[in-house]
Symmetry: C2
Subunit: 400 residues, 2 copies
Amino acid sequence: MANPDKIRAVAERVMKMAQQGNQMVVVLSAMSGETNRFVDLAGQMQQIPDPREMDMLLSSGEQVTISLFAMAVKNAGLDAISLLGDQVKIHTNTRHTKARITNVDPELITAQLNMGKIVVVAGFQGVTDDGHITTLGRGGSDTTAVALAAALKADACEIFTDVDGVYTTDPNIYPKARKIDKITYDEMLELASLGAKVLDIRCVSLAKSHNVPLHVRSTFTDTEGTWVVEENEEMEALPVSGVTYNKNEARITISKVPDTPGTATQIFSPISDAGIIVDMIIQNTRSSDLTDMTFTVPLTDYDQAIEIITDVAKEVGAESFNGDKDIAKISIVGVGMRNHAGIASTLFKVLSKEGINIMMITTSEIKVSCVIAEKYTELAVRSLHDAFELDKDVLPVGEQ
Amino acid sequence: MANPDKIRAVAERVMKMAQQGNQMVVVLSAMSGETNRFVDLAGQMQQIPDPREMDMLLSSGEQVTISLFAMAVKNAGLDAISLLGDQVKIHTNTRHTKARITNVDPELITAQLNMGKIVVVAGFQGVTDDGHITTLGRGGSDTTAVALAAALKADACEIFTDVDGVYTTDPNIYPKARKIDKITYDEMLELASLGAKVLDIRCVSLAKSHNVPLHVRSTFTDTEGTWVVEENEEMEALPVSGVTYNKNEARITISKVPDTPGTATQIFSPISDAGIIVDMIIQNTRSSDLTDMTFTVPLTDYDQAIEIITDVAKEVGAESFNGDKDIAKISIVGVGMRNHAGIASTLFKVLSKEGINIMMITTSEIKVSCVIAEKYTELAVRSLHDAFELDKDVLPVGEQ
């Protein structure tokens, strides 16, 4: 919710849908810039702001947008009511600033809907059993929307964003990128974990577990966006749905580590104790008793990780270690992979043909990721997008 | 609450008092400028903003200051908790944007105080029995503070303001104005109704009915301010406590009105129906059947009032009417008046000696007000201040 104009724009679209006979519940986030302003104010008060008080502060942001939204609706002659997280009773656990929704009471919203009102709910916030206000952390408002959709057994949950849907790859890198019409929850989860920012993992995961169809679409246009739904046959027709990249990781390799039980623990425990999240790990066995250990960490944690590894490498008796900040992770995602053989080998062939060396590989049932030199990122994305024909519309089942 | 610096300044003073062994409850208003910002945003959404949604919007302002305040306290190593009006349970009626407090639950605050916390409460807001957020309108945060002080049976309610107390008159007009150490609720009520802006009438009235001692003092200095308390003998020693003026009224006179029953109703009903508040009314009988009717209205309503009177004067058969926007109301206030004869006549003598004509006079038990030409305002205030020796300290009882 950027500003008053955007609030009015969304209000108009919601009213149009209401006038078509739909009962509408709207979940709003704070105006853009507000959260940063609050974080700045809090920082002026307390070095590490108290989480309970931080939630009290942050949750005031949605209070502003929901009341303004309700006013915009009323100005157009329709009825609306704004409700806070603790008024709806969006119950959460007590983990302030990153609480989890435990339960949502649908009664008040249902009652207001049945009175013909558009119900405008503050996203991102809830309330503990003791009556303290909590916030949900990243992706909070989307998660609230999905939780409400599930509790109210809504037909769908529409997520209005700055983009008009989920794309086969980043259109900034490859203009041939195509908006995906339909994608499965699992694919969306992979894309979200791989760095696609359009939806948060928690929101998709909640939608999957309650089977709430998500519609990711633009705030500014009326065109259909991307539906995130349960898997069906049609969606398996295409082996790959999207290509993603992530330049925010760094690689560290420890060479010639004595391959004894417990070595991995010795290496990764201190990293994890420092709060550093390791993404990919691969181990190449050199000989019966020596191995190379390669892993990736977030770029921002790289220096700290190298410091830790300097000590750890000595402890485990490794010969040497080295790191590389100029890497990128390229991934292809698609539920169709399960039924199409040779997807990984196509990927290898494409990259090899372009002279791109693959440093690491990991796979899941519906994903293949590989680490390459950062400078090849765009080339790799475009080549893979072409090779898997992602610019072409999905073919009807059977014509694949 | 102007800004983060001011929040920190007040937090430091509150902490000092807490460390001296006092249980402290702090009531805060929104940061200055916020209310205007919200009113502006609301105006962009709805021509006449919905009152229920306006309250939802406005009440977010204190949510920001109370959480920041609690952070500032915690940063200094003491414990604090911020509470909203609906968390405390500050019950109000349902008149959105100008609700009245009906009841305050002291339990939650008492429990938090007993846990050693400084309790930081959002002023200006409450909650209806149906769970809707309300705001209290003008003087709201001060009223909240007094209501809490009453419910908690507090020793006193300290009101931190931009000025360091209540003065014998406006120091901008007369530098000899002296800060009053103690004043009665009734005097303060008169001063507030006469235009002294330091305290709202509702707040003083509530303090009086629950006998809560008020201490009006500066946010920025440690010096004692003005105590507003029950009347005692000492306070009756001085006949006059203060001189006030109000330039925001205008006079209207209807001449030679036939003096028949119902004439006053014919004149004042349409004025009142237009939402115009008439302050002073005097009636001079010219003869057995003709009378002159003079009254004052707020300056901002003058043009509308004249329009109404143009019609009304014809209807009641008056000979003519005229008005004057360049007037001022000068008042002297003091509980001591009851026991000191001749206060009014001293006032008349002083003004007459300066050649100031008195147009209208009204009196109450502890007040004399008169309307004069606006240009004499400052002269009248200074002369009366001198005549009643308001620049001198209160004398001990018996030495008067």
